[in-house]
Amino acid sequence: MKKKKMIISQETMDVDFVRKVEALSDTSVRRCFQCGKCSAGCPMATFMEHPPNRVVRLLQLGQWRRIIEGRSIWYCASCETCSTRCPNKVHLASIMDALRKLSWDADGPSKESYVQLANKLFLQNIRTYGRQYEMRLAAVFNVKSGQFLKDLMLGPKLLAKGKLKMFHSKNKNLSEIEKIFSRIEEMRKNGKAL
């Protein structure tokens, strides 16, 4: 793969974006001194094209496009190993959250549409049912991602063990959840929320 040269100038270093990430994650990006401990312990590093330390490095240089064009942030498992072991108290897991949110908002050109799709469905389910509805989540995911046969062998076994519910336990307070969702949407529209 050919790698683009990085042209660095005050214009190409998007400091505003970095500040947004810092505000969302409540942690300092500049503080990282690139020791690589996060990458050493990350269970998902082998799946990422930019290991965690490099994600922070690119962020320090304001090159966020390179990050969200890749799949690294969508392969983070949120296990918080990096944040726990970071010698410098950089909360990398929160930085990953912030990057995903900003990329999600921008409907960015991510290569990892499956993870995004799963997340989207998950949140939709909460909005509709108040709780998670595993069976529906899995079924809709398979349909939408076009993998009709994925995990098909697990289904009957789980049904037999009573682990998949055909019907969901109802939450009587659904209007409340809808209000929370719509208030947040409203706040975003007015620019009053991160």
């Binding site: 505000a23 409540d26 269970p43 998902m44 392969y75 498992a77 949120s78 296990c79 918080e80 190993t81 944040s83 726990t84 072991r85 909360h91 897991a93 959250d97 912030a98 995903r100 949110k101 999600w104 499956y114 993870v115 799709l117 799963a118 997340n119 998950f122 949140l123 909460i126 108040g130 709780r131 998670q132 509805y133 595993e134 069976m135 989540l137 994925k150 995990d151 062998m153 697990l154 076994k157 789980l158 063990k161 009573g162 682990k163 998949l164 519910k165 336990s169 939450n171 009587k172 307070n173 409340e176 959840i177 209000k179 929370i180 208030r183 947040i184 706040m187 009053k192 929320a193 991160l194």
Partner: protein
């Protein structure tokens, strides 16, 4: 047995579906130990990893809403699922420290926040509130000879200062509990590694790879079974175990118990009441071999009773 412990109970979505046996065994065990447990009425999903992954405000708001609902019930909040536990604790931590986020969540809920509730994982309740001594005293069928690999996963203890359950890197709370009820523990390497639960839907290939490493390490350490405190870990270790064995052409045959199931067995609860029949990797051959269950039960297909 009587004691004055009382909790509000936040089961979380999984316990009402794929982890029904965790819910069942928790209720049964707590009833047996005389610990009060009142389910929070109309609780919502905490948002789990997907919510905080892409929309922190939503994640915080959902957790704050649940804490508000829990506030109406006497006692601390008992949480069974490690992911819910982590989310609720993190929300409390963030909202306590960051005024900007706190104000936004207040706006989203349109109500002042009630965050004072003490959120506790079942492990904490058994090991600290009830206490290991009282727990040991209630054992009547010690799990002698059972070698248990305690699996913490990632979310129970991390990051160090937030869940405040135990040391994030060298926790001992699970081992202490399971040793108190008579079982042996094995020292093994992967008790804190992530199983990749976040990707169980979207990237099962990743999950299989990570989970295989965990099962492999437990087997290598000579464990008979694995104990977990999280329905998501359980989902991967138990439900996907056969699939993993096929992919890697190996055989593990490691039953994966919830902590409440093993502790329940030791205090004399019946396999039916602990939902042992719902486990994909059957525990009955192991339990019979270790003389922890009568042979006659082996043929009897114990099925999981419905959720009440």
């Amino acid at each position: 047995m009587t004691n004055d412990l009382k909790y509000s109970y936040y089961p979380g979505c999984s316990l009402h579906a794929s982890a029904g046996e965790y819910d069942l065994s928790t209720r049964e065990l707590f009833r047996h130990l005389g610990i009060g447990l009142t389910e929070i009425p109309d609780w919502f999903c905490c948002g789990a990893t997907p919510a905080h992954n892409v929309d922190e405000l939503l994640s915080l708001s959902l957790c704050a809403k649940n804490l508000e609902l829990a506030d109406s019930i006497e006692g601390d909040v008992a949480v069974a699922c490690a992911a819910c536990f982590s989310r609720l604790k993190t929300a409390q931590h963030i909202l306590g420290e960051n005024d900007v986020k706190r104000k936004q969540v207040e706006q989203a809920l349109d109500a002042p926040l009630k965050l004072d509730g003490n959120v506790k994982h079942l492990l904490e309740i058994l090991a600290k509130d009830l206490g290991l001594e009282r727990l040991a005293a209630s054992v009547n069928k010690p799990l002698t000879g059972l070698k248990v690999a305690c699996y913490y996963g990632c979310l129970l203890t991390r990051p160090t200062d937030v869940p405040n359950l135990d040391c994030a890197e060298a926790p001992t709370i699970m081992e202490k509990i399971i040793e108190a009820v008579g079982a042996e523990t094995v020292a093994w390497t992967h008790r804190l590694e992530c199983c990749g639960a976040n990707f169980t839907l979207s990237r099962p290939g990743v999950v299989i790879q990570l989970t295989n490493a965990i099962l492999d390490a437990a087997k290598a350490a000579g464990a008979d079974c694995i104990m977990v405190g999280c329905p998501l870990c359980h989902g991967n270790l138990d439900i996907r175990q056969k699939e993993i064995e096929k992919v890697y052409s190996t055989s593990y045959d490691l039953p994966v118990f919830y902590l409440t199931q093993l502790v329940g067995l030791s205090v004399g609860l019946s396999p039916e009441n602990l939902g042992l029949g719902a486990m994909i990797v059957s525990p009955f051959p192991l339990l019979t071999e270790k003389k922890l269950m009568e042979t006659s039960l082996l043929d009897n297909q114990v099925s999981l009773p419905g959720i009440r």
